[in-house]
Amino acid sequence: MGAPHESAARGYEPVIGLEVHCQLLTRSKIFCSCSTAFGAPPNSQVCPVCLGHPGVLPVLNRRAVELAVVLGLALGSKIREVSVFARKNYFYPDLPKGYQISQYDLPLCDGGSLQIGTGDARRTIGITRLHLEEDAGKMKHAEDGSGRSLVDLNRCGVPLIEIVTEPDLRTPEEAHDFLERLKQLVQYIGVCDGNMEGGSLRCDANVSVRPRGSEALGTKTEIKNLNSFRNVQRALEHEIRRQIAVLESAGRVEGATLLWDATRDRLQVMRTKEEAHDYRYFPEPDLLPLVLAEEWIAAIRGMVPELPEARRARFVREYALPEYDAGVLTATRELAGFYEAAARRSGDAKLASNWVMTELLGAVKGDTERLRNLPLTPERLGDLLALITSGAISGKIAKAVFEEMAVSGGEPGAIIEACGLSQIVDPDAIRALIAEVLAANAPQVVDYLAGHERVLPHFIGQVMKASRGRANPELTNRLLREALEARRE
């Protein structure tokens, strides 16, 4: 495949930085009380404030600030005690006020980092800043052939946090990995639903290339309209290849903003450096500087859940799980929470890990979002696992009970009772089954008595089959040997 290996071969190093917009999970917009729900009919979630009517004023949504600070803390950013909103001025039909309220020279958070890669390939990617801003509306071209454009302003004023990375990424794969990690994080801490298709996670990429070993940065271009992680990677591969080709032919890369056309798999120039906007930022006079009291930041710190990295390490340490298990189990907050509750209840962390990774993930087809709607609670799964450890049921029976529990959410004991799945521990009942099996397998009995002990599992299997899996395995094993030895005499 593509550019990075070629570029390495040619002695060029790409330098990539990302700007990611995350829609914050608030119920109402950042400066008015309109709903932020996705998918409502066009222009149904608007009011004079987000429509930019004359005389309206913005009032900051406190929850948006909290969520942004939660993300800042999770990324290890410095939270500014005083940050300032600014107007970013430009004309566009989806921007009712003719300016976007954003933050400029004094953003909410400075610095921070996010880990990408695994094991020895683990790298720390620097975060430059995080700032709060409002979203714009959405333009749509009419499909009636009239050539008219329509604008939907439902999204106007939806709260966004913009995350700007340092130019620390070196390959399109790293950019992709960074976005995956960021998505996992924002979902984990509950600040964003991470849905790229719904537009709640959006990304622009800046990229330049330079001769390997060079310290100086090359001229960068900015790529917009990247609506999936895969498109980010594809577009970067294309652009890196193009920039290297320009340099190889002794040309110069021109600063520009490019648009990624995913359907044609190509980049087109949106505007050159000469045509760049002058946004004329200045402090927003309708909002006072945002002052975060130390106590408030401390209170928000308490809202930040244990992060995936820390949880993974703790699972290894606390539950003696293999690295692999801990990684799978901490992939989402829902799964990790489910696992932890089930493990504690069952008293066997490794057994719980096996069951969660295979049976539970199988039941939700790998989509941990579905855990929320699953009738089965982690406590009941724990109870089921406890029945295995205590020897009350076999693993095989447990799987049948699990399937029933996943549908009905029932209590394991009751399901076992109702379906007659409890283990047979009555020696006489098992002896009766054994007698039947031995009678039906006379040749193998002869083999066994002739010293061929390897047929023993065959008898156990037959007994299990006859008991529909309910015979206690240890007891069956012992009684079977007794019965066979008795025939020797």
Binding site: H53, L57, P93, K97, D286
Partner: protein, 489 residues
Amino acid sequence: MNLCGMSAHALRDGIAARRFSAEDVVRAFLDRIAAHDGRVHAFLEVHDTEAIAEARRLDEEIARGSEPGPLAGIPIAVKDNICVRGRGTSCASRILSGYAPPYDATVIEKLRAAGAVVLGKTNMDEFAMGSSTENSGFGATRNPWSLEHVPGGSSGGSAAAVALGLAPVALGSDTGGSVRQPGAFCGVAAMKPTYGTVSRRGLIAFASSLDQIGPLGRDVQDCLNLYNVLCGPDPRDATSAPGGHEVPEGALLQGVRGLRVGVPWDWLGEGLHADVEAALGRSVEALRQAGALVGEVSLLDPSYAIAAYYIIATAEASANLARYDGVRYGASARGAEDPAGLYTGTRSEGFGAEVRRRIVLGTYVLSAGYYDAYYLRAQKARRLIRDDFERAFAMADVLLLPTAPTPAFRIGEKTGDPLAMYLSDIFTVPLNLYAGCGINVPAGLSADELPIGMQLLAPRFGEAALFRAAQCLESRLGTLGLAPEPAET
């Protein structure tokens, strides 16, 4: 009984004592508007039907014995940049002709709750940009004392309406003197509250960090009563100040004994009209005789304030007026090929020359490469001016100076010279940069029978001292009464 010659508090007392009804009062003013407004053009729209209906409703309430509000039955004229739900609110601009806001400004909500009756909307300089009401998109307003003279601006319609008895009280807005200066030119009491005490929600923004709604009335007490209704915190205006700044009516009876009055003599040299200088002398004498301690204070040269003001105000205006793009409401250019064409067409046709000039100025001072030299510097100057006022107010409780260097100038006298027009605000602009409060008190007539106004300034939230001093000045200098009924010109 000449109801139109009475103060609002006299009308309120008369209605409460049932000497006349609210409907009598409203009809008297509507009749007078019908008879006389044609010559001065104070009103852009008169809400006769609604005003009579509202007066009847109030009369019924009073008849039922319910407690009438502090302004029950008092008609009020409202400057056309304050939103009144469902009625034309254009800022005297063609770009907003036909626009009817979907909500009442907070001050209108408060007035209605207090029982006031909105008579109609008054003329102004387009978007409050001007000092003469000649910049209206719908024709100039004339000074009731002399139809060849301007009424001042930008709240010229409100000042003319009160002076001529077309309304007992009115609302204006003061960004750089737009309430006080027309108050002076028309001979009425006119007050600019401390920035933040009166909600700006529903005031169509010119310069957000400077705009403040203020009352105009025939005497100081009417201004005080109106101020007490208008002030108070508004959770929908993030720049609104915490409450507790009402001034009890009793403050007017406290006198000025021992009050320290500072006169910035440095400002009052060249260019001061002889009659204005004489009126200042009379005012100093009046305060001294009442027991005030009158002394000199020094303040930074006000030309710095004019320079800073025209940078900050135009910068904010360039963004505030960006929303008038022809996309959602108001005027919209026909036949545009693309969004840029729609903006250019709508804004070139819709805005008058002064508004366009200020948008261009504001855009320029925020541009890349000029921001530091202009906007940033102006903000630094503003801080120095603020500190300068704080220092002056450490030595004086209130400041006294003329509201304008001259009485009203002639219509057309300054329209060709924007700089001369800007300098007519030289005594009022500094206070807006500081964000304190001020009031114009009529101080007699010039030799040409034109009103002269004196200005009192007080620190932020210093309204109590402001009203005390104003009341003293008024009682010693006397009010002017109604302007003579205008003769045909």
